[in-house]
């Protein structure tokens, strides 16, 4: 019985191969995703998507899902490229991620891979994906280490900023006007990585960190941390903290101690779980930086469209936008090559892409080169600085460069 089945399978594969070779493809795959143009002139791409569909990190899958739901018709119209999504649930666990990625590559025969969205999991499968020689689309992760440019041609493309970039932009701001910088970071991978990147940026640029303190997840107060900042004359604070609730503990201590640093910067993690456990007086002075403009232009159009199409808030706004960007890039490349299964040609087309569209009104020109597969760069003039109003809505304060000058 088992033998029979495997024979069937072998025959099926042989037949499919024969059909493909003779160029009369079309019916071999269930969805007709052959990677080249069908009768209607639309190329259907089999896109493998890995992410935590279930479990506590499911927001990190949802943003990809929302973006597909909102924009797939647009891309089809614009580029004659249709996505047939084949998704795998990695439950955010490293083991599941490895399994899911290999299933997509080896069993499902996808034409390109998107995800996993979490840096740690991406790092872990990086070698496998590079070896598979499939375009690797990364809208989620931030870790620079995911792309090793020693591997050429390189298959990975990131449309989020990297840790190194954001720390460079933050560093400029934190140390502006000779301010003394204190870093408080959570005692986990995210916090450590923030600390490391910020410190190495500081070192390269001849600055030093005046005080660095860890906060344990769930710590009941941060009074001592703030006191130490105060005592060592810190007037510029960076919070690299995973959980918004812990960020709240720090800002509560800042308020309680009557500590008034000139600058308080943090990361986008403050957008989750912070507002509900903090008061407006505590977030008054906090600012974040991001290469996207959430309030106007193409970035905000993407978010508005997601909101309208799904009836939900964008799951992770930054990543909804970066998913849009990577799909735009990939669809253009496939259209240009005319065959999604010519992986190397598609990869080259991505690397050479001239104009990336985000929404209707934002474009980014020539973002990639052989040793730059990251959409954004660390030029403060292209980054935005945000504060928060009393309802914790983002307020655009200017570009990062402007805020450097007038310190917002």
């Amino acid at each position: 019985m088992g033998k029979l089945r495997s024979m069937h399978k072998a025959l099926g594969v042989a037949a499919a191969t024969a059909l493909a070779l003779t160029g009369c493809g079309g019916g071999a795959d269930a969805g007709g995703a052959t990677g080249s143009a069908g009768e209607d002139g639309v190329i259907t791409v089999k896109l493998g998507v890995v992410g935590p569909k279930t479990g506590p990190a499911s927001l990190y899958y949802e943003y990809m899902d929302q973006t597909f739901e909102t924009f797939s018709d647009d891309f089809e119209e614009k580029y004659d490229v249709r996505f047939e999504v084949i998704s795998e649930d990695d439950q955010a666990s490293p083991e599941e991620t490895a399994r899911a990625v290999s299933r997509l590559i080896n069993e499902k025969g996808v034409h390109a891979l998107m995800g996993p969205p979490l840096s740690g999991n991406s790092l872990q499968v990086a070698d496998v994906v590079q070896k598979s020689q499939l375009p690797w689309l990364l809208p989620g992760p931030n870790a620079d280490e995911i792309i090793n440019y020693d591997i050429q041609p390189n298959w990975a493309f990131m449309t989020n900023f990297t840790n190194q970039q954001i720390m460079a932009v933050l560093g400029e701001r934190l140390w502006a006007n000779g301010q003394k910088v204190g870093i408080v970071y959570s005692a986990d991978g995210f916090g450590q990585s923030n600390l490391q990147h910020l410190k190495s940026w500081a070192e390269e640029n001849g600055h030093e960190v005046t005080a660095e303190e860890t906060i344990q997840p769930g710590a009941s107060d941060a009074n001592a941390i703030i006191q130490r900042f105060k005592d060592s004359g810190v007037d510029s604070v960076f919070m690299g903290i995973t959980q918004g609730a812990d960020t709240a503990t720090v800002t509560r201590a800042i308020e309680q101690a009557g500590f008034e640093p000139k600058t308080i910067m943090t990361t986008g993690t403050i957008l989750t779980n912070y507002k509900d456990v903090a008061d407006p007086s505590q977030w008054e002075k906090i600012q974040i930086v991001d290469p996207r403009n959430f309030l106007e232009g193409g970035d905000s159009e993407v978010l508005a469209a997601v909101r309208e199409a799904t009836g939900e808030a964008p799951a992770i706004p930054t990543n909804n936008i970066s998913t849009y960007a990577i799909l735009d890039i990939y669809a253009q490349a496939v259209q240009e090559v005319g065959d999604a299964t010519d992986f190397e040609a598609v990869r080259q087309a991505i690397e050479d892409i001239e104009t990336v569209h985000i929404g209707d009104s934002l474009t980014i020109e020539n973002p990639f080169s052989e040793d730059d597969h990251v959409l954004y760069d660390d030029d403060p003039a292209k980054w935005h600085t945000y504060g928060f109003d009393e309802n914790f809505e983002l307020v655009h304060l200017g570009t990062a460069a402007e805020c450097l000058q007038k310190s917002c």
């Binding site: 506590p56 009941s220 130490r228 709240a248 309680q256 101690a257």
Partner: protein, 289 residues
């Protein structure tokens, strides 16, 4: 000076929760390792009734305390009593209460989700100046409550007949049963009171950090430490233990950085365990652990 004041206040939080451990230990010689989840349970029950505008905050607190008390009594009856039948050295209750902790954590997470939720009940915002240190009113409230609850418990144990029974059970449960008092019932009542205190702590703490399923976990280690330092068999123990632990960890954090604070607190536990295993105020009893 700041560190001293803030350490005392922080110690108050741990002391209040430590009282849950001390109470169950005194009467039943067992500890409920699911205390952290009772902290969350209390906070979420209060959150659930937060919309009952006809009920004053004290009433809402009481609802949370009562629910946790009932669940606590049931936990003792069905998850502790059956697992301590084989005498002094039967510590299967340790496993069953840890299991309860996992189950409650999952249940609460499934119902409420993992993210912290804002709780406005019994919430005081702002800070006051205590001897030059800025102390959050909420934390101060918790610390004051720790003292009040401790004094009430001590007075009750000295002056009321329920207190007499509690002391008797702690010394000799078998003989207590010969006096017509069921040690199992006393255990259930104690668990009810202890988990009620955990729920009270949870509600007041949630007003600061938000109610979340895991909110009790970080308090658990510190409050067990405080209970052990003060002595698991002494009602005054948590206050003394809390003061020492709080001040030591806060002063250390001020001097050497936050990571050393907790380490110093736990070192204190080790020193106490070596020097006085029964805790500073504890009576030398045979500890079943």
């Amino acid at each position: 000076m700041d560190a001293l004041v803030l350490g005392l206040v922080l110690g108050g939080l741990y002391a209040l929760l430590a009282q849950s451990f001390v109470l169950t230990f005194i009467t039943t010689k067992t500890l409920n390792f699911a205390v952290g989840e009772f902290v969350a349970l209390g906070a979420f029950v209060v959150l659930a009734v937060a919309g009952w505008s006809w009920l004053p905050d004290v009433g809402k607190l009481a609802v949370g305390v009562l629910v946790a008390a009932v669940v606590g009594a049931a936990a003792y009856r069905f998850l502790v009593v059956p697992f301590m039948t084989e005498g002094e050295h039967d510590v299967r209750w340790l496993l069953s209460t840890v299991a309860l902790s996992f189950v409650m954590l999952n249940l609460i997470t499934n119902v409420e989700g993992p993210s912290p939720q804002r709780s406005e009940t019994a919430r005081l915002s702002g800070a006051v100046d205590v001897l030059g240190a800025g102390v959050s009113k909420q934390q101060l409230l918790i610390a004051v409550l720790a003292v009040v609850v401790t004094v009430l418990l001590v007075v009750a144990s000295k002056k009321t007949s329920a207190g007499l029974v509690m002391r008797a059970v702690s010394q000799d449960p078998e003989t207590t049963s010969l006096m017509g008092v069921s040690p199992r019932l006393v255990g259930m009542v104690t668990y009810a009171v202890a988990m009620g205190i955990a729920a009270l702590t949870g509600t007041l703490y949630a007003a600061t950090v938000g109610a979340s399923p895991v909110m009790g976990a970080p308090l658990l280690v510190a409050s067990i430490a405080v209970a052990v330092v003060g002595g698991l068999s002494s009602l005054w123990g948590p206050l003394l233990g809390g003061a020492l632990y709080g001040v030591l960890s806060e002063v250390t954090s001020y001097e050497f950085g936050a990571i050393w604070g907790e380490t110093a607190g736990l070192l204190l536990v080790i020193v106490v365990l070596v020097w006085r295993p029964q805790g500073l105020l504890g009576r030398r009893t045979e500890v079943k652990l």
